[in-house]
């Protein structure tokens, strides 16, 4: 390929990857060819004035128009921070928060910071967040070009979520110094086999599991493990195509239509721990920066207990910090496991672990040696800027130097609630699942747990009612639990409404219930009442694995009429707690500064 052709392709915006595919080469070969021809992008300034005046803020973009390069030279040690790219479900503002903190922290420590990101909605792409801003795509090609042009000392790939993490190995291969936990150790946490071997070595249990490369294998594995099982493709982001499967026929459907299984891309089958409690842990460690084993520190930032049962994606679940139902023994086991894994993985920076607790047994579900979605929430709940500390640790400081060596157990309650876009996607069922669908989160803070929960609901746009009518329709499995909840609602003066099955269960327990028609049985039915705003709260748990059309209608109607709805028993209990607290004492407001300083 001649230089003119290559130069023309680059000026039309073709990536090395495209040129490679079209001309039958590898991406590396195109890069080598570009270097051979001296074809590198020039970096130009965004300066508000089309170069009429001198610009003082280094905000750059690349171009292959062969114009002058405007990058200013500097002798300072430079650290590149890789941002998260466009927001999507599973990758949002939390990672931008972490990147911004990394920039602030390293600036404080005397480094020159370079931010690379392509998302215009962010604080990280503000020209005064970092010392130099590169508004560029987060691909191997574009990032390497900048790294080489700027002759950086290192790069941080663990703060921008999955996007930069996917680039880490490739960047390292091309000579980039990825600071923090090494990409090889991160690989151990992400590779199923290596991860299982590590857990065996540390004697940490994980739910029984297997892999399948075909439908027949999947059925065999499921038979051995026993239903329900959690299935997912081996290469996923944000819980994509993850499902809880309850029967052979569901599993067959999943294998046929939801995934493409192959020997290279097997499907993972885990035993699903029913009614387990899930716990997220965020910790920070400087073990990886120490020369000898046993040195360095690991400090837990927080344990977050999920309100919904295990199986709901951790990005969608409501969480309570500190945990409110775990025994001291379980908390200690979680602490021990976390420390053991952080040490084994030589963590340098942040690590997130997801656990499932069933009875007193603690299982590890997943480990991510990087900044997690919950880092900003935890930082605000405990009053310690974890991301900032982690960035400094990654660049060489020790936790002891930074004065963060003790786990903080907050005196107040912090509740995280997720916010969903269901009102945009008409007809979509709203049940929570292993597939993440929330777009954002809110925090409720208070000295009392019930109030903190009530505030989280208010903030998420579904304030809990203090009086009125509660419509209940739950599966048989939940009827027993519901009786107690219903009794307390009745004691608070709420009127109970239910369809025949649920009503019978409540009446048997001696509760007064107003019956309402099922959708197909007559009018007015629950939908009519919802639309007329005659119901203030809905408690509706799914009756089967394949939700009945009726239920979906009830749930979606609740969304359109903005009626608060609880689709799990634990959610209903939390609502009750919140309503009781609000009715007893009302709520006040308090600043973060007062909580922590």
């Amino acid at each position: 390929m001649n230089p003119e052709l290559l130069a023309k392709a680059k000026s039309l915006g073709f990536s090395d990857q495209q040129i490679a595919c079209l001309t039958g080469r590898k991406e590396e070969e195109v890069r080598a060819l570009r270097k051979q021809y001296g074809l590198a992008p020039s970096y130009r300034l965004v300066d508000t004035c089309a170069a009429e005046f001198e610009a003082y803020t280094p905000y750059y973009y690349s171009s292959y128009d062969r114009g002058d390069d405007e990058v200013r030279s500097s002798d300072k040690r430079k650290v590149m921070i890789l941002g998260g790219g466009p927001n999507r479900i599973g990758q949002g503002i939390e990672f931008d928060y972490c990147c911004v903190h990394a920039a602030f922290a390293l600036k404080e420590d005397g480094f020159e910071t370079l931010m690379v990101n392509s998302n215009p909605e962010t604080v990280s792409t503000d020209y005064d967040t970092s010392d130099r801003l590169y508004f560029e795509p987060l691909t191997l090609e574009d990032v390497l070009n900048i790294y080489e042009r700027e002759k950086c000392w290192g790069a941080i790939a663990q703060f921008g979520g999955q996007t930069p993490l996917n680039l880490a190995l490739g960047l390292q291969k091309n000579g980039v110094n990825i600071i923090g936990t090494s990409p090889q150790d991160i690989e151990i946490a992400e590779d199923r086999k290596l991860f299982a071997a590590m857990l065996r070595k540390l004697a940490i249990p994980q739910p029984p599991n297997g892999i399948a490369t075909s439908e027949a294998e999947a059925l065999a594995v499921a038979k051995e493990l026993g239903y329900p099982v959690l299935v997912r493709p081996s290469f996923v982001l944000g819980g994509r195509a993850m499902q809880i499967v309850y029967s052979d026929s569901d599993l067959q459907r999943y294998m046929r239509f939801a995934v493409e299984a192959s020997p290279e891309r097997p499907v993972l089958v885990d035993q699903f721990l029913e009614d387990a409690t899930e716990v997220d842990v965020d910790c920070i460690a400087d073990v990886g920066g120490c020369s000898r084993p046993g040195q360095g520190q690991i400090v837990i930032g927080a344990l977050l207990e999920h309100i919904e049962f295990a199986g709901v994606h951790s990005g969608d679940a409501a969480m309570v910090l500190p945990p409110h139902t775990l025994s001291p023994k379980v908390v200690q086991v979680i602490r021990d496991y976390t420390h053991a894994m952080a040490r084994e993985l030589n963590v340098l920076g942040l690590m997130n672990v997801q656990y499932a607790v069933k009875g007193e047994t603690v299982y590890v579900l997943e480990v991510n040696p990087r900044a997690s979605r919950t880092v900003p929430f935890v930082s605000k709940a405990i009053g310690i800027p974890l991301a900032k500390l982690a960035a400094k640790v990654m660049a060489g400081r020790s936790l002891a130097e930074l004065g963060f060596t003790k786990e903080v157990w907050p005196k107040n309650w912090a509740v995280k609630e997720s916010v969903f876009p269901f009102n945009r996607f008409h007809g979509q069922d709203i049940l929570l699942s292993p597939e993440m669908r929330s777009t954002g989160e809110v925090m409720g803070l208070d000295a009392e747990l019930g109030i903190a929960y009530a505030k989280s609901q208010m903030a998420a746009g579904g304030p809990l009612p203090l009086s009125g009518r509660v419509f209940m329709s739950v599966s048989d499995a939940h009827k027993e639990d519901l009786v107690e909840i219903a009794r307390q609602f009745a004691q608070l003066g709420f009127e109970l409404i239910a369809t025949s099955g649920t009503a019978a269960a409540l009446e048997n327990a001696g509760l007064k219930v107003e019956r309402v028609f099922k959708l197909s049985a007559g009018r007015p039915n629950s939908l009519d009442l919802l639309k007329n705003r005659e119901i203030q709260l809905v408690i509706n748990t799914p009756t089967g694995q394949t939700p009945r059309a009726d239920e979906v209608k009830i749930r979606t109607t609740a969304v359109y009429t903005n009626t608060p709805i609880m689709t799990t028993i634990s959610g209903a209990k939390a609502a009750l707690l919140g309503i009781t607290a609000l009715r007893n004492s009302g709520y006040g407001v308090k600043t973060l500064q007062e909580y922590h300083y």
């Binding site: 005046f53 466009p86 927001n87 479900i89 020209y127 605000k380 008409h426 903030a459």
Partner: protein, 502 residues
């Protein structure tokens, strides 16, 4: 004019949780505002329920309330802060700046105003007054105002019940009709109706979702070109255009879901000047005394008729894009204007010698491409319409539209490395095609005529399948200039592919 000295504390309302139509751009604007106001020595009080934001980090405001953004909660904050200011023996007032936290902040501030809380506690609103907000947001009032200053608007009417809706539809006389609920975010509950059944359904939903049970029913401008102007004004009535933005997708697709390009590419200078003058006339008529606004225009490609679609009297999603596209920090400047400065008194950080009253000039092309997440909502309809469905966006800068488009497409994190030719397969329904396959014409036609998340890629498929630019224009109404640019990329893809053989 210098900054106001009668202000002691400024209350800023954030945007709350990230939702479709209101993403982290408001963390960006709120953070800038906090910094700018602290810099001026004011005590900053912030309320935002979203813990994942930078602005709620304790060092950005003097008082950070991570509390629900509801009128009731805000009033509690106001009462508490007034007591605190008394304790501090503060000389000066508490004021409320509601224009930096998106629709959530604006709606909450308006609820406080309407409920009398602001008057009760003596809290002044700065940045935009309540009357200006009402004029900007109430669609009928806005339209009447536009006509009174000689600007054109789509034929329409407002309605508060289904009967009224039907009467308005009757008056306009033909389908399709656009239904827009008043005071909802990102057009929630709006839509395009092609027949009576759809009309009834969307109108009902819109009435339910509008907090004031009001919808606007409009003549359809489907296929018209759409433009946006980011304008700022100070209290001495200086006005500047920060950025002009052209929507690649014509009217009918929400701007948040449309590919957008800055600066405007397909207007003549004369047309642009007319639009600039109109923008100033709009911001003056609505009465946004200080700060930024976003004004949307539609232009009929057949006869050049220009109409005003709407205006947001606040910092919006487009403001974040305009700030990044030009380097001009709209939110920061808006905060400074709100406390009394004028544009010519605020220096531009980038050049240091020019003031903020200089309109930015750009010598490059910026392209923003939306990011969707339909795979997460398989039961939902993936057609794009006037209700925003994208969950994020990527922006890229290049010296030409072609360069910036391809950079933006490879920024999307969808596994693609540009417009095509990257070896990745195409999934269409249950079928999978290889990257360089020629797709069936009927599929291409359908994907071009009904707006969807992958439409830009189908322009490539269409060109490769032998569609002419004119045919693609007829199916998409995307301006021929954009199509011709894409054709250059596609033609060169063939040149590269041929070089493989040689």
């Amino acid at each position: 004019m210098p900054k106001r000295t009668d202000i002691h504390s400024v209350l800023i309302i954030g945007a709350g949780p990230i939702i479709i139509g209101q993403a982290c751009e408001f963390d960006y604007s709120g953070t800038q505002a906090c910094k700018a106001l602290k810099e001026e020595g004011y005590r900053v009080v912030l309320v935002n329920s979203n813990p994942a934001t930078i602005m709620t980090d304790p060092e950005f405001a003097d008082r950070t309330y991570i509390e629900p953004i509801t009128p009731e909660c805000l009033e509690k904050v106001i009462v508490r802060e007034l007591e605190e200011m008394k304790r501090l023996d503060a000389k000066g007032k508490l004021v409320l700046l509601p224009t930096l936290g998106g629709q959530t902040a604006l709606n909450t501030a308006m609820a406080l105003f309407r409920g009398g809380a602001l008057e009760r506690h003596g809290v002044e609103m700065i940045g935009a007054n309540a009357r200006a907000i009402e004029r900007g947001e109430d669609r009928q009032v806005f339209k009447d105002l536009m006509m009174s200053i000689g600007l054109d608007v789509p034929v329409s009417g407002t309605a508060h019940s289904l009967e009224e809706c039907r009467a308005v539809a009757e008056k306009i006389g033909r389908f399709p009709l656009i239904i827009r609920p008043a005071f909802t975010l990102g057009g929630t509950g709006g839509g395009i109706a092609y027949n009576r059944d759809e009309f009834d359904e969307i109108a009902k939903r819109g009435l339910e979702l509008s907090p004031v049970s009001e919808v606007l029913i409009e003549e359809s401008l489907l296929g018209w070109k759409e433009f946006e102007m980011e304008v700022m004004r100070d209290r001495m009535d200086n006005c500047v255009i920060i950025c002009s933005i052209e929507n690649f997708d014509p009217m009918g697709v929400h701007t948040g879901d449309s590919i957008t390009v800055a600066p405007i590419q397909t207007l003549t200078d004369k047309e642009y000047q007319i639009m600039r003058d109109a923008s100033f006339a709009v911001i003056r008529a609505v009465g946004v005394e200080t700060g930024g606004s976003n004004i949307q225009f539609a232009v009929n490609p057949d006869n050049g008729r220009m109409v005003i679609i709407e205006m947001n009297p606040r910092v919006s999603r487009s403001s974040a894009l305009a700030s990044k596209a030009t380097g001009f920090p709209i939110a920061k400047i808006a905060a400074k204007l709100a406390v009394g400065y004028c544009l010519d008194e605020i220096p531009n950080d980038i050049t240091r010698e020019t003031p903020a009253s200089f309109e930015p000039t750009i010598d490059y092309v910026v392209t923003k491409v939306p990011r969707f997440a339909f795979e997460k909502f398989p039961q939902a309809d993936p057609t794009l319409n006037t209700q925003m469905k994208s969950v994020g966006e990527a922006m890229a800068i290049g010296r030409t539209f072609k360069e910036s488009l391809q950079k933006a497409l490879r920024s999307l994190e969808t596994g693609r490395f540009g417009l095509g030719g990257d070896g990745r397969p195409w999934r269409i329904g249950d079928k999978v095609y290889a990257d360089r396959d020629i797709l069936p014409r009927d599929i291409i036609s359908r994907k071009l005529s009904v707006p969807n998340a992958e439409r830009v890629f189908f322009i490539r498929h269409a060109l490769r399948a032998g569609f002419t630019v004119e045919e693609i224009f007829q199916l998409t109404k995307i301006d021929r200039w954009f199509l011709a640019q894409i054709k250059e990329i596609v033609d060169f893809e063939e040149v590269l592919a041929r070089s493989r053989a040689s």
